[in-house]
Symmetry: C2
Subunit: 667 residues, 2 copies
């Protein structure tokens, strides 16, 4: 509906691409004017069609949208693709229209994609109703941005990757991200699911759908925006969507086994890697190339990405050396040192020998290969044969093969891609992909926890002592503290607690920065001086006197839970205290977390070095730290009235933990 | 010499490309056989030539190399380009030949490039004597790897960048990296110098040459290898070069104002940025694009790279809105929201308005622009006009313009590149380049310090007390310590120092990891228990009893100096103690350092947050920390017999510093 004969109009493009599938199904063009379009008659209305329809694409203006949907349903449509813009994303009135329409669509047992979308495609059935044509292939693409979908399609085509299905979700009035991921998880031709999302709606449903895709062996790659203020501003303007905070997205990825990427290029690069016939499961990488510079660069980058470039055994090195010139390096990285030029098949021999050795989990071929064909057609043919031999050898050995080449468009590169060998122009892309694919193979999705019944407590007390009370009520040990409002009260509290004590002025946010915390007060004189100075400088009237925790040998963590509008409460565990803002060393998960997951989160921190007793250090009480995280996550899971709760620092000791500070923010 | 008629041979290719410049100079082909080559006669020897020669390219085998050089010198050659391989990089005998030859070359007042090199090119004079042809342009390229030079040339060509000069340095028997950088610094057509190096020889001379290029307004971009063990292994095999440790290279970059990159692609991407007509000097970036997804992604990436995407003022936003559809976002990022499709010149209006506003230091255009021309030749022409208008507007405003486009090969993209507007396919490349260019504009080279006369001390005492003595002799305060070998001695030492004390078992490397350090021993009983336990567990026989430094409010740094075989002693300052290995937060410089430089290094650490008194914290004694670094660097600058000296931790307090541990390694 809205088919047009005028080139450049959406209704024109959509009609053209839809007609490409006419040998598979009847296609009718509808246009109120009834003028012929694209050399064929149009119908003024769906009512005039000679048969009932299954699917209707609506590409008319917003004012006629509601009537068009009714007409479609009356004509028997079970699927409506709504290109029409200017509805829910533009105004409250538009949103109301959407809601009314969706109700009728659902009542009719139909579904609707959009509105404000770019259409859908299914290459398996040669159905295209979108502003782009898609080459057939294994990638299912769900996108909330039209131009980014176009870019992804273009990059994928260069990389030799095609698409199984494409859905532009638009405003997700009826079908949302989660439904579509779920659907693709069960779609045979789809082997990787690529998602560009700005608005997740029910984030947990989305994560659950991703998890079911993971379980079906179909990785979900996620690209999203809004991690910066300006990015969030842009996303909000774009679709009216409220973006999720970045940690919530990370938590959802960990929960559902998704891999998050930062750019469209990275998305396609990773998809290539995930589609390898034999993705590597270990970190040992063999490098081969004809030229010391290239193989050395690759080695440095692999090491920087925490992959291993192990020296090969003497026997293997000798086997490699037997076909190469004397100057060749054969211990890994392997430098053919002119051996490729001498005999192109040396490339296949080296790659094959490394692949079948069992000494590496993947072989990276880097540098000039792909360029010999530039010399002559004969060379190009030989090079393509060598490429086939390499792919054969890697496949036979069940070993991953990844290629970086100065000639990514060569015939040899095309041969490799046709065999699902990832080929990259940039060594950084090859190495980045490998690091991600290998990291993923070592991670198990955390799972998507359900949320208990949401109970609102009494109004949330955001004060320091209110926060302490709430957190203590969950069973988390906090350092002993007394609220005092005078020096006399402070003296009494200190005597009861026993020196040394800590004095905190209550109220300011960055307490320790502003001089609002004084540690290690050794006696009454010290206490008086500190109290008077603090009261004067900070105009504080409420104080807390606290037991001084012996920090020696302990490590300070941060344990917090914050609520995201899409994904719900999210647990953050990280290095805390003074070094938290320097390190940004955190692990995240959807709340509530199990004890086992909390311990995994702690073990995943870089700071785990300090906690787990590595290198002869006494291990700290990680179990107690995990228990605090579990308790806080369970508390927050049931309390939608609290936006944020945090213990920072939580001092982890050889035996037990103790929270030294607490903060709560109401929703 | 060694010109060949056989296609595929080096002597054939070199002769062919050299003859391309025959309209600029006489070119003679020499071949012992005297057979015609490339349709012209060859000479059996340089002696047969009708005139004396200026430059000789030697492409014959190693056995005839020495005689060929003599022949060249006799024929008047002032420059010899030695392609010949199999000399210094292969054997001691080859190295001896090189040394003899270089002596005679120098005695004759001539210079030699190579041997084992790929040749040279000077596009300004249409001289090519290399295994590749180079498009003319502003980049001077010096490379120690042939294949990487080829790759750089290919990537640069795609990016619309050409080369002024190319030198393949080979074994650097006569001319080295430093000479060549120095030469390019004074070469008019060269505006950026790209260096791929594996072996720096005299590293300080290289850094000084880079500094002179910096001062001549010609940035040096450095790509090197060997930061990983496997990378070092490969580099060593490749040219026999001993690679420098990565921190030494970083220190040289800081000293000489070089920018280090990790891949050939990054090198070309950065070169484009450094050649912009108006490189940005501030961090404020404006973003424009037709599509919310693209501009949001760009905003997130810019923020992740610590650049700013400021909200535009109301006045500017209104000016932008006046030509755009109502749905457009105009506060930054600017989303044209279909305004580009409506009127392509809206792109130029938006970019121009942002560029001339003074509210941003650079404009990033991202997304679809470049793709409208795909529709028709007419659109392509209009789009190219718009591209010109954008470049004009940015130039007139003196504002940087950077473009990411899904259509990097379009006519519009070519127009932009011809105006030195960097154009990238990947937004990550655009943002990474901007971050580097802006960071560079805020950095001043540290300068290349001279080294004093090298005096060897007595044999270096690597023991703990030896290290303490050496470091204390430089005037650096260390915590009070007594060497003890029995519990009785420990008791006496503790009484003299005063409790609480620290007890260290001397000898093991990771003392604190292995339980060889016990802090905060409060009295004699505690001391005895600790002593007995340590002696038993670690079989230690020597101990140190030390004053317990009150850590509260202080920050632990690491101050060390290590010697590199090319760059000499290098100072490392970083976060020390427990968090050093987690953070990898370090600053490096060539030793010795001035006080001012040492303070700059400390201020550049992320840990500076904790040191400089930000957010109301009491500032710590950075000057004293800097003084320690200066003293250690001066000590090490004159002592080639010491490979490494380190104070970790150096406790920085409100007033003064004190070293809590010391380590020295002999050369």
């Amino acid at each position: 509906m809205g088919a047009s004969g005028t080139a450049g109009k959406w209704g024109n493009w959509l009609a053209r691409v839809a007609l490409n599938g006419e040998h598979r199904r009847s296609v009718y063009l509808v246009n109120r004017s009834g003028h012929a379009a694209l050399g064929r008659p149009t119908y003024r209305s769906l009512r005039e069609l000679p048969e009932r329809v299954e699917m209707v694409v609506i590409a008319i203006g917003a004012p006629g949208f509601e009537a068009a949907v009714d007409e479609a349903l009356a004509a028997g449509a079970k699927v409506i693709v709504a290109i029409t813009a200017g509805l829910g994303e533009s105004s409250a009135e538009g949103l109301a229209t959407e809601l009314r329409v969706v109700e009728r669509v659902r009542a009719a047992g139909a579904t609707l994609v959009g509105p404000n979308c770019l259409g859908v495609a299914d290459t398996g059935s040669e159905l295209t109703a979108a502003y782009s044509e898609f080459k057939a292939g294994p990638v299912g693409l769900i996108s909330q941005s039209g131009n980014l979908a176009l870019e992804l399609a273009a990059i994928a085509e260069k990389a030799g990757l095609g698409f199984s299905r494409f859905v532009s979700v638009g405003n997700q009035a009826d079908l949302g991200m989660a439904d579509l991921v779920e659907e693709l998880a069960g779609h045979d031709q789809t082997r990787v699911i690529a998602v560009y999302a700005e608005d997740f709606r029910d984030g947990r449903a989305f994560a659950r759908a991703a998890l079911s895709a993971y379980e079906a062996g179909k990785p979900v790659i996620l690209l999203t925006v809004g991690s910066s203020r300006a990015g969030a501003r842009a996303a909000r303007t774009h679709t009216g969507a409220l973006v999720s905070v970045s940690v919530a997205v990370d938590a959802a990825c960990a929960a559902g086994g998704m891999v998050r990427v930062a750019t469209p290029h990275e998305m396609v690069e990773l998809a290539q890697g995930l589609l390898m016939p034999h993705p590597p499961r270990g970190r040992r990488i063999g490098i081969a190339g004809d030229g010391g510079g290239h193989v050395a660069l690759a080695a440095d980058l692999l090491a920087a990405n925490e992959l291993e470039v192990p020296a090969l055994t003497g026997g293997l090195a000798r086997r490699l050396a037997s076909t190469l010139p004397p100057a060749a390096a054969t211990t890994n990285p392997v430098d053919l040192a002119g051996g490729g030029e001498q005999d192109l098949f040396n490339y296949a021999r080296v790659v094959g020998t490394m692949a079948e050795s069992g000494e590496v989990d993947a072989v990276v071929l880097t540098g000039y290969f792909g360029g010999y064909g530039e010399e002559s057609a004969e060379f190009a043919e030989t090079e393509a044969m060598v490429a086939r031999a390499m792919a054969d050898a890697a496949e036979a050995a069940g070993c991953a093969l990844v290629v970086q080449t100065m000639f990514p468009d060569s015939a040899a590169s095309q041969v490799l891609r046709s065999r699902r060998v990832p080929v990259y122009a940039d060594i950084d892309s090859a190495v980045g992909m490998l690091a991600r694919v290998i990291a993923r193979s070592h991670q198990t999705p955390a799972g998507v926890p359900g949320l208990p019944e949401q109970t609102s407590g009494t109004a949330v007390d955001e004060s320091y002592f209110g926060a302490r009370q709430l957190i203590a009520s969950a069973g988390i040990p906090l350092v002993e503290a007394r609220r005092v409002v005078s020096l006399d009260e402070a003296r009494i509290a200190s005597d009861e607690i026993g020196y040394p004590v800590v004095l905190k002025a209550i109220g300011s946010v960055h307490k320790s920065d502003a001089g609002g915390v004084r540690l290690g007060i050794v006696g009454p004189g010290d206490l008086e001086a500190s109290f008077v100075a603090m009261a004067a400088r900070l105009s504080a009237s409420i104080f807390s006197v606290e037991r001084m925790a012996p920090a020696e040998g302990g490590v300070e963590l941060l344990v917090g839970v914050r609520r995201d509008h899409s994904f719900g409460p999210v647990v953050v565990i990280g290095l805390g205290g003074l070094y938290a803002e320097l390190m940004r060393d955190t692990a995240v998960a959807l709340a509530p977390v199990t004890h086992e997951l909390a311990e995994r989160m702690i073990a995943s921190l870089r700071a785990a070095l300090l906690l787990l007793g590595t290198r002869g250090r006494t291990p700290l009480d990680v179990a107690a730290a995990a228990r605090s995280a579990v308790l806080l996550s369970e508390l927050m899971a049931g309390r939608p009235d609290i936006a944020e709760a945090e213990i920072n620092p939580l001092l982890v000791r050889h035996l037990g933990v103790v929270g030294l500070d607490a903060r709560v923010v109401g929703a």
